[in-house]
């Protein structure tokens, strides 16, 4: 009885920590990364994400790659994705995946990843907001040309790119993918991308805006590299002690985010502004709270 009471208090406290959406008709989504282990930690983090949806009802989730580690048999898809995320799948949440270095490219045909047979693709969940999923394992001329066309055509919408390898990172193991940054960042800047979401490093990191763009690493939704993050001048917030996911909400020209750990505790939050004309000045007001 006493244990149950303690548990109830804990849950109540934890629920209070995830904040409900700010906007009534805002677009809400979750960000998860490096999820595909199918182990207890992955299942637990997925369960917390499903619980958080009770407070923060999000429509879809974007996946930062390494969606299925190791074997990719039908049983692996079941054990490493369908089972941990069953509650969300049953609840109608759509998942949009990008490919990590541990993913077979054939994942593009898996319906629950909504990639429609493409290694890189774009989708617009709502008027004025467009996502671009890239394959950072293989950024060739064909993909760059596609990206430039897609960014150009998207006009003045919120432009959000997501893919596996981080262009900025304070990770001690991998660090930033400078070679990929050299070819992608000029396009992001030119076409006024607001937000870039990545994984690969098994921790959470939010960068101070770089050339006006806010970069996140969300790579600890299953695996965790404890203390794998160094302190650098580009870090706005970091967490290499907890498994985590991020909830985001776009409300007009503002994007509110909450980074949440496996105990449903918000450890980083803030607001990013979309200001298409303000490339010259700092346009992110993201602040650690």
């Amino acid at each position: 009885m006493f244990k149950k009471l303690i548990f109830a208090i804990f849950i109540a406290t934890a629920w209070a920590q995830v904040r409900p959406p700010v906007g009534k008709d805002s677009l809400r989504f979750a960000v998860i990364g490096d999820t595909g282990t199918g182990d207890r930690a992955a299942t637990r983090t997925a369960a917390r994400l499903a619980e958080a949806r009770g407070t923060f009802p999000f429509e879809f989730a974007v996946m930062m790659g390494d969606n299925i580690y190791g074997g990719e048999s039908p049983r692996d898809y079941q054990r490493k994705f369908e089972a941990p995320y069953k509650a969300l799948l049953d609840g109608g949440v759509k998942f949009y995946a990008s490919l990590g270095n541990h993913d077979e490219p054939t994942q593009i045909n898996y319906k629950n990843f909504n990639m429609n047979g493409q290694r890189y693709y774009t989708f617009r969940p709502r008027m004025g907001v467009r996502f671009f999923a890239l394959d950072s394992n293989y950024v060739d001329a064909r993909q760059l040309s596609w990206l430039e066309d897609a960014l150009k055509q998207s006009g003045s919408e919120w432009k959000i790119c997501f893919f596996h390898h981080p262009l900025y990172s304070s990770g001690e193991r991998h660090g930033p993918s400078l070679n990929t940054r050299a070819v992608l960042e000029p396009l992001f800047v030119k076409y006024q991308v607001s937000l870039v979401l990545t994984g690969h490093e098994h921790f959470y990191e939010r960068m101070k805006p770089q050339s006006g763009i806010t970069y996140f690493i969300v790579g600890a939704s299953a695996k965790l590299r404890r203390d794998g993050i160094a302190r650098t001048d580009i870090t706005a917030a970091g967490n290499a002690r907890d498994r985590s996911f991020v909830l985001m909400e776009i409300d007009g020209d503002q994007l509110h985010f909450q980074a949440i750990n496996q105990d449903l505790k918000v450890f980083d939050s803030g607001t990013i502004r979309r200001a298409v004309e303000l490339r010259e000045t700092e346009r992110s007001s993201a602040t650690k709270q």
Partner: protein
């Protein structure tokens, strides 16, 4: 720490300034025509396999992929190393890789070639022509600055690294189509 950040900044500036004006090397007509022949063969062989009706069925996807791979393997049963990489193209590719990976400016690209490379990731294997890429092995990342200078491949065929060897990889069937040993310095 400040020195490290300054170095990274300078390196990035250099990479960005050089990435914008890269042009791929002109592939030999022979390389192009050999690849086109392979694509034609694959299309012919795979055309008999129906697309899975239910695309959420991972089992169907896997079964189709394996059937296609086996059919292509059979159709190319006499495939040998060098069937696709002509000697001229092989030399061009090695030259590009050497130039992109050399010196301090190439350090980032050198690092990228180890990401997902089965040898560096602890799942080494010896690649062979017309053999399936092992399911348990990750796929290497290929530095974009290298990719942008290599001859463009038909859709679905990719350059990848296994150890120091470059392979031509068919992403639809997971088959290794050809090898270029010692592509990485």
């Amino acid at each position: 720490m400040m020195q490290v950040l300054v170095f990274i900044g300078l390196l990035t500036t250099f990479l960005i300034s050089t990435a914008g004006d890269v042009k791929p090397i002109a592939p030999s007509k022979e390389f192009d025509s050999r690849l086109a022949e392979y694509v034609k063969l694959k299309e012919k062989v795979v055309s008999g396999f129906a697309e899975p009706v239910k695309k959420d069925d991972a089992q169907l996807i896997e079964a189709r992929k394996l059937a296609a791979a086996n059919a292509v393997r059979e159709a190319r049963s006499s495939a040998r190393q060098g069937d696709l990489f002509t000697p001229e193209t092989a030399e061009q590719i090695r030259r590009v890789i050497r130039s992109e990976l050399k010196g301090p400016a190439g350090s980032s690209a050198r690092k990228v070639t180890k990401q997902g490379n089965p040898t560096a990731e602890g799942t080494p294997f010896v690649p062979k022509v017309n053999v399936l890429y092992p399911k348990e092995a990750p796929l290497s990342t290929v530095p974009p600055t290298v990719l942008l200078r290599l001859p463009q491949l038909p859709k679905g065929i990719e350059y990848r690294f296994v150890g120091k060897t470059m392979i031509l990889y068919d992403a639809d069937t997971r088959l290794i189509l050809d090898l270029l040993p010692n592509a990485l310095p």
